[in-house]
């Protein structure tokens, strides 16, 4: 129920955006709950974007894991 799927904003018009869920699946979603711009990845829940995904933060998460792995190898 709280499932949310990342999608890329392909076009924007007011509160509505066309987003790409990958594999060419396009859908109109409501973006009134976020401050998103063209090209952003948003997290879509039940037809509404609920948050903008931060690529920088995603990479930081991976780097956090790498740190754990480095320690694990010690």
């Amino acid at each position: 129920m709280c499932l949310a799927i990342p999608a890329k904003i392909m076009s924007l018009q007011g509160d509505k955006a066309q987003v790409n869920f990958g594999q060419g699946v396009l859908r109109e979603v409501n973006v009134s709950l976020v401050e998103a711009k063209l090209g952003d990845y948003v997290l879509v829940h039940a037809g509404y974007a609920i948050q903008v995904l931060e690529e920088k933060e995603a990479l930081e998460t991976l780097s956090l894991w790498n740190d754990v792995l480095a320690q694990a190898g010690e």
Binding site: M1, C2, L3, A4, P6, V29, N30, S32, L33, V34, E35, Y41, L43, H45, A46, G47, Y48, I50, Q51, L53, E54, E55, E57, A58, L59, E60, T61, L62, L64, W65, V68, L69, Q71, A72, G73
Partner: protein, 363 residues
Amino acid sequence: MAESMRFRNPEIAQNIAEKIRSVAPKKSQVKICHVCGTHEWTITHFGLRSLLPENVEVIAGPGCPVCIVPAAEIDEAVLLAKQGKVITCFGDLLRVPGSESSLLEAKAAGADVRIVYALSDAVEMARKELDKEFVFHAVGFETTAPITAVEALGDLPKNFSFLVSHRLIPPAMELLLGIEDLQIDGFIAPGHVSAIIGLKPYELFTKIYRMPTVVAGFEPNDVLMAVYMILKQHSTSEAELENEYSRVVKPEGNKKAIEAMRKAFRVTSGSWRGIGKLDDSALTLKDSLAEYDARKKFELKPSEGKDIHTGCQCHQVIVGKIKPNQCSMFLTACTQEKPVGACMVSSEGTCRVWAKNVAANSN
């Protein structure tokens, strides 16, 4: 994001599992509780429990917003459906048992019950069929409630209203800590609820209850990482609030969503199936939006519902007291095809997730 596949890379998973073994206590039992149906799906689907030491257990709390809708509120939807209103809802809700009937049974008996993917689809239907009354049964935790808020504050047709069954997660987490014979040593907090509410509402658990709490994402390595972070805190008797899911969850949450909820709802007490009444755990539309509140619009009277059917142990499963396979009806009298309790109905119900996994592994 090409990097995204690494969030489920099995080699990384094995390495995190190794790290988990190195910080886990040698003998004493540790129980980590999550409160999200999607976390349970990830854990079960990817077999994450098999990667953990025997004395580290991950248990499922009340994380399925459909399962905890009390029968009395399903009864309200069924009553409205029988009166000729069009009931719209997400698919998960359709088979959830009321006291006497589910919405699916009402539909089979001729009522107009329609599944929608998005709330806006229901609003569109109402605009096109102005001669009918449309009611959206709004179910969900903080992830979903802002959507109801935005639509309720927006431009709705006169023939549209909400039957609000939204609930809030932090009060349910606090309830778990008060259950005497339920051991909990750490919380995995739900990522998408947290994307909305941010980190602050969980401070209570670390500051007052000294409970390690980690907000986690939904990829298998996110969940393993959260288990590791909790065990690490546990090993040094710390109780910190950590955010493993920072690519989505900002400390302040989603301010627009919080503001929309604050404008549209007031926080009230609410009943949870199998749990009972919890203070400050439910949302009700504010009086300024009364015309969109189906309970007021159609003068529904509060009634007692029958939440748990004879033999069903959903109330024990919901709070993590027993596992689905400890219920004598699991996969015998209660199956995916013929569910008895709400936990077997919803795709995020703990029993349903476990049953699906049993079925997948036996094929």
